[in-house]
């Protein structure tokens, strides 16, 4: 079987869940090899990559690779594509991942398909476009196929791999070193899962009414170990930080469970969440279009319904 390169996404040296999803998907396409960029590779990371089937782990561990955004990953992958002739390259559909895939596509003159939600054994990708209203199947017709894959598309399933370490030392191009990362600021609140990766997302919109109102949304999220999202109305009003916006101009999420509170469901918002597997809606307006997406909806005041739900989850989980 041919080799499939999977670019590892990590946070402070810990392998992100999306990488375990990509390794699982890669096993259906060929033999997965993980690619680690920058310092911080550890036995713990190796163990996770092995658990999900990485036979080889290419480690480009030079400090310089982490000091510059995006371009080093593309250059390491381009080097490996040249050496190993893989059947495909899989990258997570994060901002960094998509840009890395884009630069790689230019470097190796190969086609790239972004935001795949599935890839068949013959490398046909499924995409859910226009906010989930259209399903497209497409293929790369030139070069080594590069896919970026949405988080939460493939349930991670363990499958033993050897995770044999193979160090990669390449000299970055001058162009790759022109932008330099000088600092990193963490603004994530309270240890919740990341929005794009979370299995459950609890969101608030115009109906939440204020910054203080988001306390009930956060409480429900914490009872379910969920991420918090917000509609554009709420982020534009300054009630919740911008990076939590779900929608056409924010993040696209596809969790197992999405709970929309006080959100009317304009296309702007639906485009970011309507491929969620199960959708719960709480809104006092029975005519709100978001109810069209609801698997279960309650017409009512979110400040009555949501705290009651949080309490009830507490009782049932106790």
């Amino acid at each position: 079987m041919g080799e499939v390169l999977v670019l590892v996404e990590q946070s402070d040296g810990a392998v992100k869940k999306v990488t375990t999803e990509l390794l699982t998907l890669a096993r259906s396409l060929g033999e997965p090899s993980a690619v680690w960029i920058g310092p911080g590779y550890s036995d713990a990371a190796a163990a996770v990559l092995a658990e999900f089937g990485a036979q080889t782990v290419y480690v480009a561990g030079d400090e310089a690779h982490a000091a510059h955004p995006v371009a080093p990953g593309a250059e390491v992958l381009a080097h490996l594509v040249g050496m190993k002739a893989p059947v495909a390259v899989l990258v997570a559909s994060s901002a960094d991942g998509k840009e890395t895939a884009g630069r790689l596509a230019v470097r190796i003159n190969s086609g790239v398909i972004t935001d795949a939600v599935a890839i068949s054994a013959d490398l046909v990708a499924t995409q859910s476009v226009f906010g989930g209203s259209t399903v497209v199947h497409s293929t790369v017709t030139s070069g080594t196929p590069i896919f970026t894959v949405r988080p939460n598309s493939t349930p991670p399933v363990a499958g033993a791999g050897a995770a044999v370490r193979s160090d990669v030392a390449i000299e970055l191009s001058d162009a790759a070193k022109k932008a330099t990362v000088t600092g990193s600021t963490v603004a994530t609140k309270g240890g919740r899962p990341e929005l794009a990766e979370a299995a459950i997302v609890v969101s608030g919109g115009r109906g939440v009414g204020s910054t203080e109102g988001f306390a009930v949304i956060e409480a429900l999220a914490d009872s379910l170990h969920a991420a918090v999202g917000a509609s554009r109305a709420a982020t534009d009003a300054g009630w919740y930080p911008h990076q939590y916006q779900v929608g056409q101009t924010g993040k696209t999420v596809s969790p197992q469970l999405y709970i929309a509170n006080g959100i009317s469901g304009a296309i702007q918002h639906r485009a970011g969440m309507q491929t969620s597997k199960t959708i719960i809606v709480v809104n006092k307006d029975a005519e709100a279009p978001i109810f069209e997406l609801a698997d279960y909806g309650v017409v009512g005041d979110l400040f009555a319904v949501v705290p009651q739900l949080t309490d009830e989850i507490g009782k049932r989980s106790a």
Binding site: P69, V70, A95, D96, K98, E99, T100, A101, G102, R103, A105, V106, N109, S110, V112, T114, V124, V129, S133, T134, V135, V136, H137, S138, T139, V140, T141, A175, A179, T180, V181, S184, T185, V186, A187, A196, L224, H242, Q243, Q248, T249, L257, I267, T278, I280, V281, E292, A294, Y296, G297, V298, V299, G300, A304, P307, Q308, L309, E312, R316, S317
Partner: protein, 259 residues
Amino acid sequence: MKIAVCVKQVPDTWAEKKLRVDDSTLDRDAADGVMNELDEYAVEEALRLGEAHGAEVTIVTMGPDRAAETIRKALSMGADAGVHLVDDALHGSDALATSYALAEVLGGRGFDLIIFGSESTDARMSVVPAMVAERLGVAQLTFAQKVDLDGTSLTIERVTDSGFDTVSATLPVVLSVVEKINEPRYPSFKGIMAAKKKPVETLSVSDAGLDAAKLGASAAWSSVVDFAARPPKAAGIVVVDEGAGGVNIAEFLTDQKFI
């Protein structure tokens, strides 16, 4: 300083978007065309940088005839000149071809700063700014929520999943911006009148010295096999809260094994 802003005309953000049955490309006639919303922030940032540091702002677009409306809008906001790459041979170009065409048009014009919106609201790939940076061999500062220009040194806050990274480079730079960065101005009446007199250069594929073999649907590096409207979602259960709405949801979640 010379600033280019790359803008794209897209279907109205609020419209339902469709693919054409004949060639699987976006049906641009099915909805009104507007300037990609995120590009308005790019134009605004260019104008602000120009006001603070002195710059000529050129709007660059690639698209059919009516994409000229988008250039005109940016000129009425205050930009100085436009470049419109328009040719039937461009129809169906994918991101790689688009980045090739843009890089060819932008390169050699001496721009210190090339600004994009961080993604288009139609294709939503978010790859063209990075591809253009790669092709031009210049620094990539993308997903900026804040920009600080000090002489020839540009520093941005790059939005990440967990917060932001501070990233710096020396001009020339390819920059992309997110909507948090500013509040785009509306064109004034005076601006709209002034825009009518501003120069817009129209380029065909051959005018721009592009290789037509690298452009359009036939040259695309990927192709659509088929597409279909997503089947409508089966109607769910909707109840009116009569005091137990929260408990009702908890029961549903228990049935679905979420709790």
